[in-house]
């Protein structure tokens, strides 16, 4: 029960911030895919840069556990490209579609219905995927610092520097 309440409160906070950051709009998502408006990249990358410092700090202190999804080339690359095609058509991703509906952009409701159908279709296809695409190139649960063989505290500052440089460039270009 407490877990469900945590989920609801966390979602409300996140939805509030997504709306304030103007990330929920079709025009913003397509704007990024058309390389005209980097609002969603600014939002995502800011969240990721703050998150990586906090999560790795807490993990080093033994307070949290990492939860890494396996790098299965077939699934991640093929699935990722298919997701991208659907995302470009819909203009909302699974999380933001609910948020877009919350701010009244109700074309998202058709996307939400479509996503429920897509999930049902995948459930039908899963036994086939499991013995085909999901067996192609499984590298396990790997992180970038593990692959490079360096400390994550070397990788994180590099990401932050790169991110800040990108932000500077966005603002200079007015993106």
């Amino acid at each position: 029960m407490t877990t469900l309440l945590y989920g609801l409160v966390t979602g409300i906070l996140f939805g509030f911030l997504l709306q304030k950051g103007r990330v929920l709009r079709y025009d913003k998502q397509l704007g990024a895919l058309r390389l005209q408006d980097m609002t969603i990249i600014k939002f995502m990358l800011s969240a990721v840069l703050v998150g990586m410092v906090g999560v790795y700090l807490l993990s080093d202190l033994g307070l949290v556990k990492l939860s890494i999804k396996p790098m299965i080339l077939g699934g991640v690359v093929v699935g990722g490209l298919i997701f991208g095609v659907g995302w470009g058509l819909l203009g909302y991703c699974p999380g933001t579609s609910l948020g877009a509906f919350g701010e009244g952009r109700w074309d998202s409701a058709w996307g939400i219905l479509g996503m429920l159908c897509g999930a049902a279709l995948y459930a039908e296809a899963y036994p086939l995927m499991k013995v085909t695409v999901l067996t192609w190139g499984n590298y396990g649960k790997i992180t970038l610092p593990q692959v490079l063989g360096v400390s994550h505290w070397l990788v994180i500052p590099l990401f932050i520097s790169g991110g800040l440089a990108l932000f500077y460039w966005f603002e200079k270009k007015g993106l």
Binding site: G7, K65, S67
Partner: protein, 174 residues
């Protein structure tokens, strides 16, 4: 782009605060952000109402059991949070067609609905195959420096950029 509808925050600020919320979530509840599994559980719940025995025998619904869990409530919360933020700032708008879409494809509603529905179907199939969406892979994966998160993000954008170009053409016209 038209942002003058009240209450907008800098995306850097809103994003950084979301990063803090996500850290707290991992710390207090042990939960990383994600959204697409919820659509599987929900589809399973709908199918259960029709044919529970069939659902009980499907491997994917054994893996992702149709039930209301932390993430399901999180996704509902996103809806409520966006509703609160937009109605309290005057930026809530009951809108059938996005402006960019209408400028390019005109005011015919069913075209947008059809494309949104098909896009949603394709997108969710891909997200489940990839085992995550921009929340699970993009935010949670890349903040943990997971290789799968970075590769997924690149593929998400590659697929999306190709479609955006097919729909809207190249060049800078808005």
């Amino acid at each position: 782009m038209n942002d003058n509808d009240g209450g907008a925050w800098s995306p850097y600020l809103a994003g950084a605060l979301s990063g803090l919320v996500s850290i707290c979530s991992v710390w207090l509840a042990g939960k990383y952000f994600g959204a697409s599994t919820t659509f599987v559980r929900s589809a399973g719940m709908v199918e259960q109402a029709v044919d529970p025995e069939r659902v009980a025998a499907m491997p994917y619904f054994m893996k992702e059991v149709p039930m209301i869990d932390w993430q399901w409530m999180f996704v509902v919360g996103i809806f409520i949070g966006a509703l609160i933020a937009s109605t309290t700032s005057g930026s809530f708008r009951w809108q059938a067609l996005p402006e960019m879409w209408q400028t390019r494809f005109g005011p015919v509603r069913w075209k947008r609905w059809l494309v949104a529905f098909i896009g949603g179907t394709i997108g969710m199939f891909g997200a489940r195959l990839a085992d995550g969406c921009p929340s699970g892979h993009g935010l949670s994966g890349s903040m943990q420096l997971a290789v799968s998160g970075f590769v997924a993000l690149v593929c998400f954008f590659a697929g999306g950029m190709i479609v955006a170009r097919l729909l809207y053409g190249g060049g800078d016209q808005r």
